[in-house]
């Protein structure tokens, strides 16, 4: 029983991570990923793609109870493959085509024959984000203040 649950948790973690990276993919990355999918599956829309809002919450004092900070645009889609798998795509912003493609990749990663293609794509996205984050962090680090104390001689 526990083994089954662990396996399911691991696959949920993998799916969560993949969906988070798909949300941060550029339109070009998703388009290129779609070109690489062969053969192209039959995809049916289930919901959307559509744009709406999410109320972004913060925490009082930074770590206290939740408050409503303000909204952000979100685009989302749900699709179903002919084989039955349902995929969900949701990401910040107005790009509904990106949401639709993200949903397709979420569905495809549930198919053994497409899983590796999807994983390779999200690993590339992850690599690109890491490079961007590191560059930004290093540029910020260069603005770090190095305090030093002026030593005054007594004599």
């Amino acid at each position: 029983m526990d083994a089954i649950r662990e396996k399911r948790d691991a696959s949920a973690d993998q799916r969560k991570r993949t969906m988070g990276l798909l949300a941060r993919a550029t339109a070009a990355e998703l388009q290129a990923g779609w070109q690489a999918v062969e053969p192209k599956p039959e995809v049916h829309p289930v919901r959307g793609p559509e744009t709406g809002l999410i109320m972004v919450r913060g925490r009082v004092g930074g770590g206290g109870d939740a408050f409503n900070l303000g909204e952000a645009t979100v685009s989302r889609a749900a699709v179903r493959l002919a084989s039955g798998e349902v995929g969900h795509g949701q990401l910040l912003g107005n790009d509904r085509e990106k949401a639709r493609l993200a949903a397709i990749f979420d569905a495809l990663q549930q198919r053994p024959e497409h899983r590796q293609t999807v994983l390779r794509m999200v690993e590339a996205i992850e690599g690109r984000i890491e490079v961007e984050d590191r560059l930004q962090a290093e540029q910020t680090a260069a603005t770090r203040v190095d305090f030093f104390t002026m030593v005054r001689g007594d004599n």
Binding site: A12, L53, R57, D65, Q136
Partner: protein, 370 residues
Amino acid sequence: MYVAVKGGEAAIANAHQLLADRRRGDRSLPAISIDQIVAQLGLAVDRVMAEASLYDRELAALAVRQARGDMIEAIFILRAYRTTLPRFGMSVPVDTAAMKIERRVSATYKDLPGGQLLGPTFDYTHRLLDPSLLTDEPVAEPLRRPVDEGSMMRVSDILSGEGLIEGDGQMPQDHVPGDLTREPLEFPLNRDLRLQALARGDEGFLLALAYSTQRGYARTHPFVGEVRIGTVEVEMDIPELGFAVSLGRIQVTECQMVNQFQGSTKTPPQFTRGYGLVFGQSERKAMAMSLVDRALRAKEFGEDIVAPAQDEEFVISHSDNVQATGFVEHLKLPHYVDFQAELDLVRRMRAEYETRAEAEKTGTMREAAE
């Protein structure tokens, strides 16, 4: 009776066409693109997002362009747009402790863990107009330095170790965060609703109120415990999946203002806190918000309410610039009938006044004659 309510149609259509022309301006110049506004007027875009209470850089930039740079008009347009969209749900509260930092300074601790990171700040610039920006001179790449791995501990957590600072804000158990976009405000408010109102409040109004507290109208003895700017992950629960999924990152500015508090009969002397959290990069707004948040907590700490910045109904009712501009600007719309009524009234009062004055004069003359 309503008169002259028609006849404006052609004038309005022509005015809109003229507006479109003036907005475009000199056709020999290239039109400014949305991408350019996002990239080069980023802080204007951020202000529009914060006060429209809608995080979307492209739409905010479009609003700035459409409004010809009139910030409140741009905020108005973006607010109007958000009402056309369905709401999909709430995010998991963003975790500012896990922020990818772009700037972080503390005025209370010189050597705090993670250090003082100045980031892309206007501070320490000379505030001299820069002629190099008159032309498109090449801009050098920023310098890089290896990153000091380690946590960017929040300043409030340093003080809380000693028990000298109040904790993060707690609401009563099972409290559902209020949402002023869904329910009309009823005073007094809880702190969560006040923070939502302040986060979308007018920067200039909050800045002036914050300044007033420093000048003695509800002094709070503030120190900037920490200001941090950076990106945080936005996650939403997907009920069909049974777990929360990241939707991407947004940039926010957070300010922890630390205030000396002498204590009351119920509370020992300690530091209290004001909190500011704003969409985008907006340090001035986050700092002003945290000062006003602290001032508005006067009742909670048993302080006398003596100044405008402590008056919740005054502050929150007047902080929204879309409401404010609507009510002030509506005065220019036709009030022909109202004014006609006032004119009649003033004429009548004037006639009565003159009759009375005349009567008094005649009376005085008669008295003098007798």
